[in-house]
């Protein structure tokens, strides 16, 4: 008997927030009523044309959408295979895809009458995007950030402060992104009456993975139409980097029911998968429960969560959005990984061939393209999400290359 394939890959999650065996709502009881409220409110917002109109208007005039779709001629020539196209989400206001989701969530917060916003951040991109929308709508903003990340990402800390946010360094645990998320959850549980938690990736308790995906799906919807307009056909392959996976699911989701379109998610393999120094939850982890959802996690044999490592602070999270876990298990999306070294090489390659300084996160996607594009025919097309710009990473890259600035 062959395995039953779903009729559509685009109708997840089910009404309890499950993507197959993944997702769900694993939170302390204090938060459950709030999570249920959020779900009801999101359903109402989806059915409200005024909500969509306001979202679209802000994306167009504040964020700068649609973002361009760019054919990369010199990179394509250098790789000698499929045509490489980039969805330029690094040109968004604040320099990454994160803002798409923050616009959607702050509109939900306003709908729900919440007056205080909290967020977690790792590298600081989601923190900056959240601080930005809070300034835009005049709401107080508290960003939890691991103490170690506060030190490493001081320009983004200053940006958040300029935007009026309070950055609270997290010393609990080991002071990284997952600890920042724990601390944000602790804040939320103590301030349920007035606080909205803007989660930065397509993970967390239902309905977050769904609503973050929906807000980020603007990336894939635009790219799909732009490719049809420009090339007259759908792309053969989509490629995106994955930490929690919001930029990837945003690109992939609108194409999931196009069987001719293959998809490749690229995890961060850090120093390589043979040791512990990586952040590849799908390739090197096991299913488990953390931060409100069931998904693949980096963990030991007792279920203790282990630390992710990546040169990209935006990818070193020990989990992954539950929809990716499901898409892996169904086989609809392929997942691979790129090491720190490969990402650094790809970073420099894009600088040199296209005059674009990418963030280290999409550099992982570019690294995967350098392997796969040469194996594809020249009339094939690849669309990769250039989900962030590299200004924030130049210090990290200089250090990795042994350059003194």
């Amino acid at each position: 008997m062959t395995e039953q394939k779903p009729n559509s890959f685009r109708n997840q999650p089910d009404d309890r927030g499950h993507f197959g065996q993944f997702g769900g709502r694993y939170v302390a009881e204090t938060l459950m009523p709030l999570i249920l409220d959020l779900e009801r409110e999101y359903e109402a917002a989806k059915a409200d044309p005024a909500f969509k109109e306001q979202f679209d208007d802000l994306l167009e005039h504040y964020v700068g959408r649609p973002s361009p779709l760019y054919f990369a001629p010199r990179l394509t020539e250098e790789l000698g295979g499929a045509q490489v196209w980039f969805k330029r989400d690094e040109l968004n206001h604040t320099g990454a895809h994160k803002i798409n989701n923050c616009i959607g969530q702050i509109l939900l917060a306003l709908r729900m009458g919440k007056t205080r916003i909290i967020a977690e951040t790792g590298a600081g991109q989601h923190g900056v995007a959240t601080a930005t929308v809070c300034a835009r709508f005049g709401l107080p903003c508290i960003v939890y950030m691991g103490e170690e990340d506060v030190r490493r990402q001081s320009p983004n800390v200053f940006r958040m402060k300029l935007l009026g946010a309070e950055v609270r360094p997290v010393t609990a645990g080991r002071g990284t992104l997952k600890d920042a998320m724990n601390e944000a959850l602790r804040d939320w549980v103590a301030n349920v009456h007035d606080t909205f938690y803007i989660i930065g990736t397509a993970a967390g308790p239902h309905p977050y993975p769904e609503l973050v995906r929906d807000f980020q799906s603007v990336i894939g919807k635009e790219a799909r139409q732009q490719m049809l307009d420009r090339t007259g056909k759908l792309p053969d392959l989509l490629v995106a980097a994955i930490g929690g996976g919001s930029n990837a699911i945003g690109l992939f989701h609108p194409f999931l029911d196009d069987p001719s379109v293959k998809m490749l998610g690229v995890e961060a393999a850090g120093h390589g998968l043979d040791g512990d120094e990586h952040a590849a939850s799908l390739a090197g982890g096991f299913p488990g429960v953390l931060h409100g959802n069931k998904t693949y996690l980096l963990q030991d044999e007792d279920g203790q969560i282990t630390e992710g490592h990546s040169i990209s602070a935006g990818l070193d999270y020990p989990g992954i959005g539950p929809e990716h876990a499901w898409l892996k298990e169904t086989g609809r999306v392929d997942y691979t990984y790129a090491t720190d070294k490969e990402a650094l090489d790809a970073f420099q390659l894009l600088c040199r061939t296209e005059g674009i300084i990418p963030a280290l996160e999409p550099s992982h996607a570019i690294a995967a393209i350098t392997k796969v594009a040469p194996t594809m025919p020249k009339n094939a097309t690849i669309v990769a999400n250039l989900c962030g710009r590299g200004d924030k990473d130049i210090f990290t890259v200089a250090e990795a290359l042994g350059v003194e600035m």
Binding site: G24, E29, M32, R186, V192, V289, D302, G303, I305
Partner: protein, 258 residues
Amino acid sequence: MTRFTDTFSRGPALVCFITAGDGDTAANLDALVEAGADVIELGMPFTDPMADGPAIQAANIRSLNGGTKTADVLQMATDFRARHPDVPLVLMGYANPMIRRGPEWFADAADAAGVDGVICVDLAPEEDQDLGPFLRDKGIALIRLATPTTDDARLPMVLDGSSGFLYYVAVAGITGKQQAAIESIEANVSRIKQHTDLPIAVGFGVRSPEQASEIARVADGVVVGSALVDIIAEHGKNAPDHLRALVSKLAEAVHNKH
């Protein structure tokens, strides 16, 4: 399960929490029981204790840094059961360590260790399938939490499949921090009593005999955790004497309600 019935039938119970593997757990547990604790909650350490305040977070880290494994926690439970055949024992922790080897494995292991109940902080009733049926099969109580945000419409969902006792979380927040007003506790306990015959134990933010005494007048049990964990953090090897001193006062306050 009958250990819960017997214990709560004797009047208000003092429920004491400590984290397994933080200090000399066996000596600390014995001190709690000798000083009058009626129910023991043994915390399973986890790297990411999202619902806990600084005191219990630090206890989790101390325990894990000391090398505590799930097998060690189960052995501590087994040894406790051998020394204290009649004291109800609850394992309290987070979902991931409990389901890592599969829920059947955990239910079997907890049963073999003589555990009476399990509190899984981040297992909402909506996700009961991951653990609840396996515990119930073994006759182990799944003790759920109700909170100030659990309204009357939601209570039946929380109570369905609950047994042993119900843990009422007095404050919307994390462990060890703020204290709830007794009026709010009393109103919520009597509200919940209209939905269930289960004993109701009240915890979060309870530190002093005075608070314990107030709560014992309106509920079936009083849970103390962070205050005990603080003593272990401060006194290390000498913690048992200090635990005995506080717990005997708490026990007197709960049992005599004065």
